[in-house]
C-alpha cells in the first residue's frame, strides 16, 4: 500500500473536476492538487453533452432574464441566490473556455454565436456545433496538461471518504489496473463525480454514471437534496437511448405524432407557427418548451394512442428535414451522424424516431453556493451536487455552465479551507485503507457460493425505479419501489463475485458502482414518496397540484440504518416570488 497526500483532492475528471483543478493550479500554484477519476478524464460524460452552454452575451439579453427563465424552469424550486451566481459568472466562464481554445461556433464576423434553447426567452446558448461537451471537456483536459501541479490518478476508483475529527480528510481508492487499495489524504476533497442516470434502465447517460460521489457523501452522513427530481429528455433514440440534442429543436426541428400533428399544442405549450414562418421556432413555446413538460406530453400522447409503435418502444417523430442538408451539417452534424448510424435514418430525408429518456439528476449532494457540504472539508460541484440552480427541472444548456461556474467556485473555497487545517496523519490514512481492504475481502471478494450477480440486482433496481419513479408517479407504486429496493439492498449485502482477481477487475468496479446505485435509488424513491405534490419533473398522479405551502422546500434524504430520513429545507427566494410557469401564452 502506498500513501499519497495533496492539499486539495478532486474526485472526478469531467468538466467540473478539471475546471476546479485548473482554477487551483493557475491561481494557487503553491497548493498541491490531485485529480482522481475512475476513467481517463476525456472519457468523462461531459464529453457527451451536445447542445450548448447558456450565458448572457447578446446586448438585448439580461442577467435577470436568464435568472428568471432558470427559476421559472425550475418550478421555483431553485435557490435564487445560487441562480444569480450562475448567471453572473456564466459568460465569464464560457469566455475563459474560449481563451483556452474552445472552438465555439462563430458568426461570420468572428464573434461567438448563440442559439435558442428550450425554456430560454432569448438566444443565449453558446455551442460548438452539436459536440459542445466534447470540445469543452477536451479543451479543459488539454489545458490542464499545462499544469505540472495537477497530479492525476487515472482509473482509480474511490471506495470511501476518510472522515475523522468531524471532517473529510481524504479518500481510499482502488487503483483499477493493479487492484491495490491506497489512501489519498487531503485537507479538502471536492466531489465532481457527475450524475446517476444508470440507475434507470433507459438513459442517455454513459456506463460510468452510477452516482458514486453522491453515495460517498450520503454514506458519510451528508444529505442528498431533491433526489426525486429526475430529468427525462424528450428526444432520445429508441433502443439505445442515445441523445438527440435539444439544439435540433432550437434550430427549428418539430415534434410530430403518428397523426402528423404537432401534438405539443395540446399541452398548454402554445400554438405552432408554420415551419416556414420567419418567427419559427418561437422561444419558450411548443418544441422550445421545457423538458419536463415535453416529456410529460409524450407520455400523455402515448396513453392516447397517438405515438408510433416500434420494436424498441413507442416513439414520436422529430422532423428536421426543412432545415436542409447544408444547415443540418453545419449546425447539428452529430444529430445526422447518430441517426444514420444507430437507427438507419438520414434526417435530411426522413424524420427521426425519438422517445423520452432519463437524462439528468437535478438532485444531488446538498451544498451551499460555495459548493461546501455539511461535512467540513467536503465539497461538491457539477451534476453530483445540488446547489440548487436546477430545482425541479433543469433548463437545457444550464448544466455545462453550472459545472464551470461552481467547479471554479468550489475550488477557491476548498483551497481557503485547506489552508486552515493540518494534513491528515499517515496512521489515519493507512488504517482507513486497511479497513476498506478488509471489508472488500470479507464481502464482494469473499466467495460464499451465492448465485446472485451484479447485473441481476442492477436490472431489478433499474426496473423498479422506472416503474415507481418514472415520469408519472403515485404513492402506492412508490411504496412498492421503496420496498423492493430494500430487498435488493439485502441481496447486495450477500453478493459475492465470481471474479475475485485484482488486475483490472471490471466486475468488482461494477459491483462497487452497484452499491452506490442502490443508495441513489433509495434516496430517489423515498424522496419521491414523501413529496406529495407535483412540481416540475416530479409528477404525482395522486397529488397533481403544486403545493407551495407544503413543498416550496428542498427535500433532504439522510441515510439511516434502514430507510432514509427525509427532512426539508427552505428554498431561497430573493427577487422572484413563486408564480405560475407560463409557456407559449402571449
Amino acid at each position: 500500500m502506498e500513501t499519497f497526500q495533496h492539499d486539495v483532492l478532486i474526485v472526478g475528471g469531467g468538466g467540473a473536476g478539471l475546471r476546479a483543478a485548473i482554477a487551483i493550479a493557475r491561481d494557487h500554484p503553491d497548493v498541491g492538487v490531485g485529480v482522481i477519476s475512475k476513467v481517463y478524464p476525456m472519457r468523462s460524460h461531459t464529453v457527451a453533452a451536445e447542445g450548448g452552454a447558456a450565458a448572457v452575451i447578446s446586448p438585448t439579453d439580461s442577467l435577470d432574464d436568464h435568472a428568471y427563465d432558470t427559476i421559472s424552469g425550475s418550478d421555483w424550486l431553485a435557490d435564487q441566490d445560487a441562480v444569480e451566481i450562475l448567471v453572473e459568472n456564466a459568460s465569464k466562464e464560457l469566455l475563459q473556455l474560449e481563451h483556452w481554445g474552445c472552438p465555439w461556433s462563430r458568426e461570420p464576423d468572428g464573434r461567438i454565436s448563440v442559439r435558442p434553447f428550450g425554456g430560454m426567452k432569448l438566444e443565449r446558448t453558446w455551442y460548438a456545433a452539436d459536440k459542445t461537451g466534447f470540445h469543452l471537456l477536451h479543451t479543459l483536459f488539454q489545458t490542464s496538461l499545462k499544469y505540472d501541479a495537477i497530479n492525476r490518478y487515472d482509473e482509480w476508483f474511490v471506495t470511501s471518504l476518510i472522515v475523522a475529527d468531524g471532517r473529510c480528510q481524504g479518500v481510499t481508492a482502488i487503483e483499477i489496473r493493479t487492484g491495490e487499495m491506497h489512501p489519498i489524504g487531503a485537507r479538502s476533497v471536492i466531489l465532481c463525480t457527475g450524475g446517476a442516470g444508470r440507475v434507470y434502465p433507459f438513459t442517455t447517460n454513459g456506463n460510468i454514471k452510477t452516482g458514486d460521489g453522491m453515495a460517498l457523501a450520503y454514506r458519510a452522513g451528508v444529505p442528498l437534496k431533491d433526489m426525486e427530481f429526475v430529468q427525462y429528455h424528450p428526444t432520445g433514440l429508441p433502443g439505445t437511448g442515445i441523445l438527440i440534442t435539444e439544439a435540433a429543436r432550437g434550430e427549428g426541428g418539430i415534434l410530430v405524432n403518428k397523426e402528423g400533428r404537432r401534438y405539443l399544442q395540446n399541452y398548454d405549450l402554445g400554438q405552432p407557427l408554420d415551419i416556414n414562418d420567419p418567427n419559427h421556432p418561437q422561444k419558450q413555446t411548443m418544441e422550445l418548451g421545457p423538458r419536463d413538460r415535453l416529456s410529460q406530453a409524450f407520455i400523455k400522447e402515448r396513453e392516447a394512442g397517438r405515438t408510433f409503435e416500434g420494436p424498441d418502444g413507442d416513439y414520436v417523430h422529430l422532423d428536421i428535414r426543412h432545415l436542409g442538408e447544408r444547415e443540418i451539417d453545419r449546425k447539428i452534424p452529430m444529430v445526422r451522424e447518430l441517426a444514420v448510424r444507430y437507427v438507419g435514418i438520414d434526417p435530411v430525408h426522413k424524420p427521426i424516431p425519438v422517445r423520452t429518456v432519463v437524462h439528468y439528476m437535478m438532485g444531488g449532494i446538498d451544498t451551499d453556493t460555495n459548493g461546501a457540504t455539511s461535512l467540513p472539508g467536503l465539497f461538491a460541484a457539477g451534476e453530483c451536487a445540488c446547489v440548487s440552480v436546477n430545482g425541479a427541472n433543469r433548463l437545457g444548456s444550464n448544466s455545462l455552465t453550472e459545472i464551470l461556474v461552481f467547479g471554479a467556485r468550489a475550488a477557491s473555497v476548498a483551497v481557503d479551507q485547506a489552508g486552515q487545517v493540518p494534513p491528515p496523519s499517515n496512521q489515519l490514512l493507512t488504517t482507513s485503507a486497511r479497513s476498506q481492504e478488509m471489508k472488500l475481502k470479507a464481502t464482494l471478494l469473499h466467495p460464499n457460493g451465492g448465485s446472485d450477480t451484479v447485473s441481476g440486482i442492477r436490472t431489478a433496481l433499474q426496473e423498479t425505479l422506472e416503474e415507481g419513479a418514472g415520469i408519472f408517479r403515485d404513492g402506492a407504486t412508490l411504496e412498492r419501489t421503496c420496498a423492493s429496493i430494500a430487498q435488493l439492498q439485502d441481496r447486495y449485502e450477500k453478493l459475492s463475485l465470481v471474479d475475485t482477481s485484482r488486475t483490472f477487475n471490471t466486475d468488482l468496479v461494477a459491483a462497487l458502482e452497484l452499491g452506490a446505485m442502490l443508495e441513489i435509488g433509495e434516496a430517489i424513491a423515498h424522496s419521491a414518496l414523501a413529496r406529495t405534490e407535483s412540481r416540475g419533473s416530479h409528477q404525482r398522479t395522486d397529488h397533481p397540484d403544486r403545493d407551495d405551502d407544503g413543498f416550496l422546500r428542498h427535500s433532504l434524504a439522510f441515510r439511516g440504518e434502514g430507510d432514509p430520513t427525509i427532512e426539508y429545507k427552505e428554498v431561497t427566494v430573493t427577487r422572484w416570488p413563486p408564480s405560475e410557469r407560463v409557456y407559449g401564452r402571449a
Binding site: 476525456m42 481563451h99 472552438p103 465555439w104 456506463n207 442515445i242 444507430y342 482477481s501 488486475t503 483490472f504
Partner: protein
C-alpha cells in the same frame, strides 16, 4: 430478426495465466447490435470475468477501441450485422501492452500528449474583459477537423511505425499539435517545434496512411503530420534565407 454468431474473444487473466488464449462465446444478436452490445451481453449474461472498457456507447468518449477481425475499431460503432464471417475475432488494440483481456495500457500516449503542448499558447494573456478572440468560421475550419480527436487510440494501433518503435510521438498527439498550430488564436508553433520536429516526431512518419483510414472521427492524422512536415520545413528554409526571421 435475431441471429446467431460466435465471438472469439482474446482472454488474458494475468492473475491466473501467463499466456493469452481465445474464448468462444455463442450469442444471439439483434440487427441493431454493435460489437460492444455483444460484449456487454457476454459480461452480464454469460461471463462476468470478461474485462473491457466502455462508457458512452455513442462514439464520443473513446473508451471502447478494440481489434475486430484484425481491424482497429470503435466497437460501439461497429455493427455485428456487417460481418458475415463465421466467427468474429475480438482482440485488444495492437501495439499496446495488454493489462487484461481487451484492456490495453495507454499510459504511453497519456505521457506523450502533454509533450506537444496541446493547449492554446499566446504571447500575451488577453484579459477576459476584452472579450473573445475573433475567429471567423473560415479560420475555424482550418483546424476544426484536427480538433475532433477522441483519443481512442485506433490510429496508434494501425500505425506500424509506432508498432515497431514506440518512441514515435504518434498520430493523435501530432494531429493535436497541428490543431493548435493552425488555430488563428495560437502563437505556439515555434514552441512546439522542438518536440514535433524531434527525431521521434514527424520525421519518423513514413506516411503509411492507415491512421487516417481507421480514424472513426475523420480526423486525418496522416494529413496533419504531412502538413506539419511541410510547414516546419518551410520555416527551416526561411530561417536559412532570412536568419532570425523564423516563425
Amino acid at each position: 430478426m435475431p441471429e446467431q454468431t460466435v465471438l472469439e474473444v482474446y482472454r488474458y487473466l494475468p492473475d491466473e495465466e501467463t499466456e493469452p488464449r481465445f474464448q468462444s462465446y455463442e450469442i444471439t444478436y439483434r440487427d441493431s447490435w454493435v460489437v460492444l452490445d455483444a460484449l456487454d451481453h457476454i459480461k452480464t449474461e454469460i461471463d462476468p470475468t470478461l474485462s473491457f472498457r466502455w462508457s458512452c456507447r455513442m462514439g464520443v468518449c473513446g473508451s471502447c477501441g478494440m481489434t475486430v477481425n484484425g481491424e482497429p475499431k470503435l466497437t460501439c460503432e461497429t455493427f455485428i450485422r456487417d460481418y458475415n464471417t463465421e466467427t468474429i475475432k475480438i482482440e485488444p488494440l495492437a501495439h499496446f501492452p495488454v493489462i487484461r483481456d481487451l484492456v490495453i495500457n495507454m499510459q504511453d500516449f497519456m505521457e506523450k500528449l502533454p509533450t506537444v503542448s496541446p493547449w492554446l499558447i499566446t504571447d500575451e494573456d488577453k484579459p477576459l474583459e476584452a472579450g473573445e478572440y475573433l475567429q471567423t468560421p473560415a479560420q475555424m475550419a482550418r483546424y476544426k477537423r484536427f480538433s475532433m480527436c477522441i483519443n481512442c487510440m485506433l490510429c496508434y494501433s494501425a500505425c506500424p511505425v509506432y508498432g515497431l518503435n514506440s518512441l514515435f510521438t504518434g498520430p493523435a498527439a501530432l494531429a493535436l499539435a497541428e490543431r493548435y498550430n493552425l488555430d488563428s488564436r495560437d502563437e505556439g508553433t515555434q514552441e512546439r517545434s522542438d518536440v514535433v520536429t524531434a527525431h521521434d516526431g514527424i520525421w519518423r512518419c513514413t506516411y503509411v496512411g492507415e491512421c487516417t483510414k481507421v480514424c472513426p472521427k475523420d480526423v486525418d492524422p496522416a494529413g496533419a503530420i504531412q502538413m506539419l512536415k511541410l510547414s516546419y520545413a518551410l520555416d527551416w528554409a526561411k530561417s536559412l534565407v532570412l536568419p532570425g526571421r523564423g516563425r
